[in-house]
Symmetry: C2
Subunit: 195 residues, 2 copies
Amino acid sequence: MAMRGRRGGGTATEILDVTERLVQTRGFNGFSYADAAAELAITKAALHYHFPGKAELGEALVVRYAARFAAALAQVDEEVAEAPRKLEAYARLYLDVLRRDRVCLCGMLAAEYQTLPETMQAAVSRFFDENEAWLTAVLDDGRRAGTLAFAGSTSDVARMIIGSLEGAMLVARLYGDLGRFEATAERIVVGLAAP
Amino acid sequence: MAMRGRRGGGTATEILDVTERLVQTRGFNGFSYADAAAELAITKAALHYHFPGKAELGEALVVRYAARFAAALAQVDEEVAEAPRKLEAYARLYLDVLRRDRVCLCGMLAAEYQTLPETMQAAVSRFFDENEAWLTAVLDDGRRAGTLAFAGSTSDVARMIIGSLEGAMLVARLYGDLGRFEATAERIVVGLAAP
DNA sequence: ATCCTGACTTACCAGTAGGTAAGCATCAAG
DNA sequence: CTTGATGCTTACCTACTGGTAAGTCAGGAT
């Protein structure tokens, strides 16, 4: 039986929850083990027990985030049939993050990319690759079905969607203005719908 | 006569040049006074002589960057008449930054926004405001002249352009792939041209 | 020749960074 | 009732952070 320690439910999970928020708001270089430990009311050493180093913690963070994102995309595939609605749902995933005064974990890490340990870099680009793959499938599908209309390669469009939403998020948070993101997201998504 | 010190031309300028590159590649929290001093072959104390603290240095960096950007936009206004060409020139400004393996200074700082000193935060949002104002004027102009066509408010479109290009830049650098940015930029700009 | 000023350097400082070694409490299994 | 693993804490370390005080040294003005 996996023993749960003195605290309620899964210290490792709590650590990931807190540090995820810290990275999404302050960046990977903008928080310290001491910050996280203080918030969790444990010692730095306890953090090192669960995640030997900041690199390992960071990697775990990205892996979990990417897995959750992938699960959310799978759910969209289940619940939504039409490509344009899928794109709207995709944008809503970003909006949900922004609503909590955060930016996308990997958008943040994209900015800090050059200073990240290699394992984290790999995990971050995997996240973007997976997003691109999902979007590419949706776009292909929509164009075939005639519900979407656009010129050029689907992967180019997928990349545009990712980059645009990530950037819109960063700028919108700076102004504390959700509407700023929504306007951009709608414009991007609606612009791809068939006339 | 302003005395130029022992080194060639304007130590303060050299400091700004080096730290600008450091911020654009590693982020404001990703470099230290020691890093900059080492590259310049001067002491940390010399940095503190020219810029009393990191906050002042950072602010000077953003102010200079914004001024240069404004000058570049003014030059575009002089040399280019048609709105669609102006937008292309605007995107090219971003591309020039990316060519040097950097991202926009203020795009980077947008990610780190919550950890920045207040004076820097103000300078960063001023940068985005100025960009929005310039783009709004171009968009208004183009729509009136019939060279651009789009629905909704010009400032919404301006904000979309800024967010999209900033985000595309961050992701493109991660992949070390200029083409990734170019494809998005063209799609954004061309999508606004009148049919 | 002297003094002043601007542009630094040397030598510090306290605080924080990430990280480690060793110990201790709790519990489950033998 | 010991043993052993798990999940921590206490105490510590070294390197680096931004920052400062005091001194140095070249050149220009007086």
